[in-house]
Amino acid sequence: MKPQEYQQLVRENQPPRAVAKNTLMAFLVGGLISLVGQFVLEFVSGVERTTNEAAAVTLAIMILLGSVLTGLGVYDKIAEKGGAGAAVPITGFSNTITAAAMEFRREGFILGMGAKMFVIAGPVLVFGILSGFVVALIKAVVLGYF
């Protein structure tokens, strides 16, 4: 059998994926985490001076939440059911950092945990900064901020 033939056969025989169920679960889990975030945001907004500061503190609290749930061994179980609903919120970002830290601590704090803590979250940081830079630069030049 030729490779292309077999690849086609494999494609045709993949087990069905519960797309509707997975999407619904992602919606529910993601919505729930956002709801928790809203509670935090409204509470913090009463205390902080500016909206940017309120946003920063809210993100930090959600990051702590993700970190704790990861440490308790719960977040990966939430993700198994919730898929993107667990990966997309900032708690997911925090989970990648905490999970890596916990895992690689076994190779020592400096060469293990320290070196590999951002191995999964790295792309989000790198491309967030790169794309922000490009857009902010263009906007600033166009609007004559410099």
Binding site: V19, T23, A26, F27, L28, V29, G30, G31, L32, S34, L35, V36, G37, Q38, F39, V40, L41, E42, T51, N52, A55, A56, T58, L59, A60, I63, L64, S67, G71, L72, G73, G82, A84, G85, A87, V88, P89, I90, G92, F93, I97, T98, A99, A101, M102, M117, A121, P123, V124, F127, G128, I129, S131, G132, V134, V135, A136, I138, K139, Y145
Partner: protein, 116 residues
């Protein structure tokens, strides 16, 4: 009401991401980076701010909110400092969260072990 909007918006963004994962060969890493870039671009243009006002945490919590925070931080720092703001602004809003992630992540690494 703001709670309902936050729930729905956050949920919808995650549902959209799930659909992309189900129907394309893109990996979660691709989708997250894509969302971050989208947030940064919209934040840079100025369209994420009204979205944040409307949806609150529903716009802030998904990783697109993180991307927008980077861009908005850059813009506000540019106004304050000039061109250096392009760089110092990256962590103006996100810095608190990043440092928190390092601290709490390290704490969890010390306090507990990975379990199957």
């Amino acid at each position: 009401m703001s709670y309902v909007i936050a729930f729905l918006t956050g949920g919808l963004i995650c549902a959209a991401a799930q659909l992309i994962l189900e129907y394309t060969k893109l990996t979660p890493a691709h989708v997250l980076v894509g969302l971050t870039i989208a947030g940064a671009v919209l934040g840079g243009i100025g369209w994420y701010e009204p979205f944040l006002k409307f949806a609150g945490a529903g716009a802030l919590v998904p990783v697109s909110g993180f991307g927008s925070s980077i861009a908005r931080g850059m813009l506000s720092e540019i106004k304050r400092l000039g061109w250096e703001g392009l760089f110092t602004g990256a962590f103006e809003i996100t810095g608190l969260g990043l440092a928190a992630a390092v601290v709490f992540g390290s704490l969890m690494a010390v306090a507990s072990r990975p379990r199957d």
